[in-house]
Symmetry: C2
Subunit: 665 residues, 2 copies
Amino acid sequence: MNSLEHREEIPSQSSWKRISIENVRPAIDDGRYPIKREVGDSVFVQADIFRDSHDKILARLMYRKSGSTRWERTPMHCVNPGLDLWAGDFSVHEVGSYEFAIEAFCDAYGSWVFDTHKKVDAGVSVEMDQLEGVSLLEKALQWFPQGQQSGLRQFLNAVQNAKTSTEKTAILFDPMLVHLLETHPDPSTQVVSDRSYPLWVDRIKARYSTWYECFPRSCGTSEDVSGTFRDVEKRLPDIKDMGFDVLYFPPIHPIGSTKRKGRNNSLICKPGDPGCPYSIGGKAGGHDSIEPSLGTMDDFERLTQKACDMGIEIALDFAINCSPDHPYLKNHPNWFYHRPDGTIKFAENPPKKYEDIYPLNFDTPDKEGMCNELKRIFLFWAQRGVRIFRVDNPHTKPFQFWKWVIKEIHNLYPDVIFLSEAFSRPKIMKKLAKVGFSQSYTYFTWRNSKKELIDYFSELSNQPETDFFRPNLFTNTPDINPFFLQSGGAPAFKIRAVLAATLSPSYGIFSGFELCESESIPGREEYLNSDKYEIKVRDWNKPGNIKITIATLNKIRRENPAFQELGNLRFYHAENENILFFGKSLWNNNLLVVVNLNPFQKEHSFIYVPLENYGLKPGENYEVVDLLSDKRFFWKGVKNYVELDPNEEPAHVLRIEARDPSGQS
Amino acid sequence: MNSLEHREEIPSQSSWKRISIENVRPAIDDGRYPIKREVGDSVFVQADIFRDSHDKILARLMYRKSGSTRWERTPMHCVNPGLDLWAGDFSVHEVGSYEFAIEAFCDAYGSWVFDTHKKVDAGVSVEMDQLEGVSLLEKALQWFPQGQQSGLRQFLNAVQNAKTSTEKTAILFDPMLVHLLETHPDPSTQVVSDRSYPLWVDRIKARYSTWYECFPRSCGTSEDVSGTFRDVEKRLPDIKDMGFDVLYFPPIHPIGSTKRKGRNNSLICKPGDPGCPYSIGGKAGGHDSIEPSLGTMDDFERLTQKACDMGIEIALDFAINCSPDHPYLKNHPNWFYHRPDGTIKFAENPPKKYEDIYPLNFDTPDKEGMCNELKRIFLFWAQRGVRIFRVDNPHTKPFQFWKWVIKEIHNLYPDVIFLSEAFSRPKIMKKLAKVGFSQSYTYFTWRNSKKELIDYFSELSNQPETDFFRPNLFTNTPDINPFFLQSGGAPAFKIRAVLAATLSPSYGIFSGFELCESESIPGREEYLNSDKYEIKVRDWNKPGNIKITIATLNKIRRENPAFQELGNLRFYHAENENILFFGKSLWNNNLLVVVNLNPFQKEHSFIYVPLENYGLKPGENYEVVDLLSDKRFFWKGVKNYVELDPNEEPAHVLRIEARDPSGQS
């Protein structure tokens, strides 16, 4: 309870300051957690800054990379005097931790200039005021840095030598002099924001990334023989052609044999069943080993390099699950839960049992040893070139573990990206993002109606969410075969692909999506004959696939920077409840997306284009090009007509063409 | 800059806690300033409380009067599991400073009961689980207080002696046992909110008060002779009959004679002109003296007592203005601003000069001496029974001065109420409320249209505003003769009286309002022949006065507790843009107010009654009584018709009558 015993004291009169700096933003939970940005971003900071009385103030934004002893400073400006709103910004160019704060000063000379100007304008004598101005300048000499004093003295001399009152005033009002005083404000009046506000800068991929998930063992040519990393190499051109830049593997570690699960999650494992990769650990090792049937560490590193050469990064799964055969059970039995009979406790979700998985106990007496080992696993793979981890079920491990381990990894590898696979309650998903996860899975997979999509993405694309929570929209995963895809055929797959690719700068698919695979366990959102429990072989060019749509979408994303951002998402009005209409703009890249959410039939609608965003006049003609179909449409004014047949293309992804600068429109 | 150098460290593994307590509210600026409540209130506290994994947690609200070493505790409950929202409350019964915080614990036994229940329900064997339950109870003995251990041991013995597994389970699930564990949670898992949150409790008058402002010198019978405190005594029955409970005087201190202002703020003061009471200080003394023409200190104390006997409190003005004759100028010249020629600087708002007023300089080197003197002035009057101060222009003095002086006064007289007279920018008005002002003047006087009133009062009557900013609506002041009143005649005065009296639990009028005085300086919102610069004599029963309306309104406020609150204000739909329709409810006191905002003509409208608030069914009949006119109306359902003729009464103040419990409706 000690933390609560500290009572705030009111400072003595001598340390009273006149200025208030309040409501500094962006800030997560009042600065308890860092906001997130990416390299190249401009960080726009606002605060309410004011003082009593009518005197002028000056404010500056301070910022630095963490660890630096020197603050950079840039002036802030009052952008709304009625609301005392001040703003400033700075740019971030390096991956890593930054912090910012605000300082403000009383501007006695600026106030004097302002008041004296009014007197001059009113024709009032200002001789006494001139003396006051000079006295303010002389006082300023006390705090002016040595190197700047001569400049100030020159102005003082000029005033002394001035022959007329008008001349004196002109010198005292000289903008150069005013600027000199503004850049060297009275340090005794300095007020600093209550704290510095943390900021974490990631590389751009943390915001903009395009994921393809597959099981390496399903990349081979036989259902009886595991695919290998060499087989994955052969898949790279196809994945590259579809436009993905992250290739994510579920666990690649040795799979346990004790209590191994059979096909379709069966408790009975038949001979030859390969087991579930999430039941990690066997004779060949644990989390720092590779399942022998996939290949060797050398094979893995070779694949990583080949992928890298093609602009594809390998992402690994980090799943803190141990099979009954994991070396930890022997070497560190005290890292697990024990039952009263001394046995180690397997995972349960009462009354269900998961006898092939043993969870680690984060309340173990050897917490330090266990956490350091988990950190070692991350570092082990980072040393082998892995810079993206998709973390399995982080919401069942302590938040403080993640905060600690992410910081530890970032200390050595600041470019590592962590994706949180938590499908949990909103506060928990947000907390994981606050403590450091770079990206997060979302509820996207279950948001299908227009209202659901608008509500959810209005939240995700606005502050405070955009300051710390980066959604990565998965259309499907090995665990999620959504009802929408089960029933809607290829049009449904296209609809979800367009939504994922254009609503969010990061999205992903799990292999088979491009082939419109949807066979499910009846009545459940699970795949029948899932890759999780067996080796699969696919015809990657199966008729009816939507690879061209996906490739086109990813090309559109690469070529249109507005799709590489999230906070620029805006929903617009479409009359039809099955037509979703939204836009994204960045500089002169103006995009509009119209999606028919109904995979079963053609829908048409009037849609309302926000002309003012594009500098278009009410009745003006303009051209939009559908980047999916290459068709061009000539639209006029706000209200335009669309019709979308899901059996052709369920969406328009439109770019508003720049007007011909020579013509009227 | 030292405050910014402190970097948050991540605690070592051994001190990691599992639970997060976030977003504790109500809190002003994350607990930097106290929320405000009044004696008898229940303080409703909410927070987002959650942990990783699925285990159960317990949370408690802690609270205490400041200075007490012992925290009271009351359980919090999860009121929205999906949002991890927890809530609890406690009551405050004493004026003064309180604080609250939240603590939470892991509930291992509760989780065990929950999980084991599911196994029992599924018919799974729970013998091993029973052993686990017993082991949890044995572990709990380690932290159970001595006096509570025997209870726990009895349950443990009962389990040992139970003959069947079913019996064992029944004992382990015993609600008494579960409750015992809930009330003694594992202290090693305790998490406490980041800070304690401050709360200031005022007496009820800080919320609910009815102010009458007058100049004592205008309470006499001759324009040539100052009215006195004895004359004010004669006014008390009239003020009492109108229903006011605070009588507020502009400054009653000696008025300077040097540079004294004449009538109508003239720079030329004619012989006999009494001067402006805001130019404080003369031969007879300063802020701790009484203007001799008003009477003696004994007279003042006698008046205060007589008023008190009639249920009226005297409020004094606290105006930090000095006339050229104030003793401070002689005794403490260093408390003022000096010009380069050594003269003391009078007030200016360039190019305007106020040569009769010298402002104090809060940057004086003798800040401590000056502030202590100002504190002494407050205490001087508090010692003479004054418990309400209306503070003039607080926004031109440092916020930290107010924070300090209000705290100092409250240390000795916690029942003092401070009203902030700042008509400044919103952030500044709010800041003054945050640093301690009990009540605040508002922009009410300039909010006349339906939209303006709804916008402004929606802000004032909702959190966070209601937690710290208590509006006191003045219909007029000696400085503000609003255009609306200048042109609208008696109907305008009634409209503004009804709005002030029913929108806010605190409001006030400046004398003359009840007589519908509106003569102005042409084109300005200022009174012609203002009391500020001359002695006035009024016929207090002048024909056309609205004293009965005011008396009735104040009686309605006394008899209907819903009008004594602010946060219960709700606006409802009226079709006519000149008809404002709103309601307030408290327990079974259900009030609806319909105001015709147009003083010039009759308006009618359909209005939409929120039946569901009153437990009324869609087509149901009910009776409303107009507390202003005593008329009764029989209404049916949601949509009802009103018409209001401003020349009769411009408003209905309606109470929904309780339904006859014997009949159907």
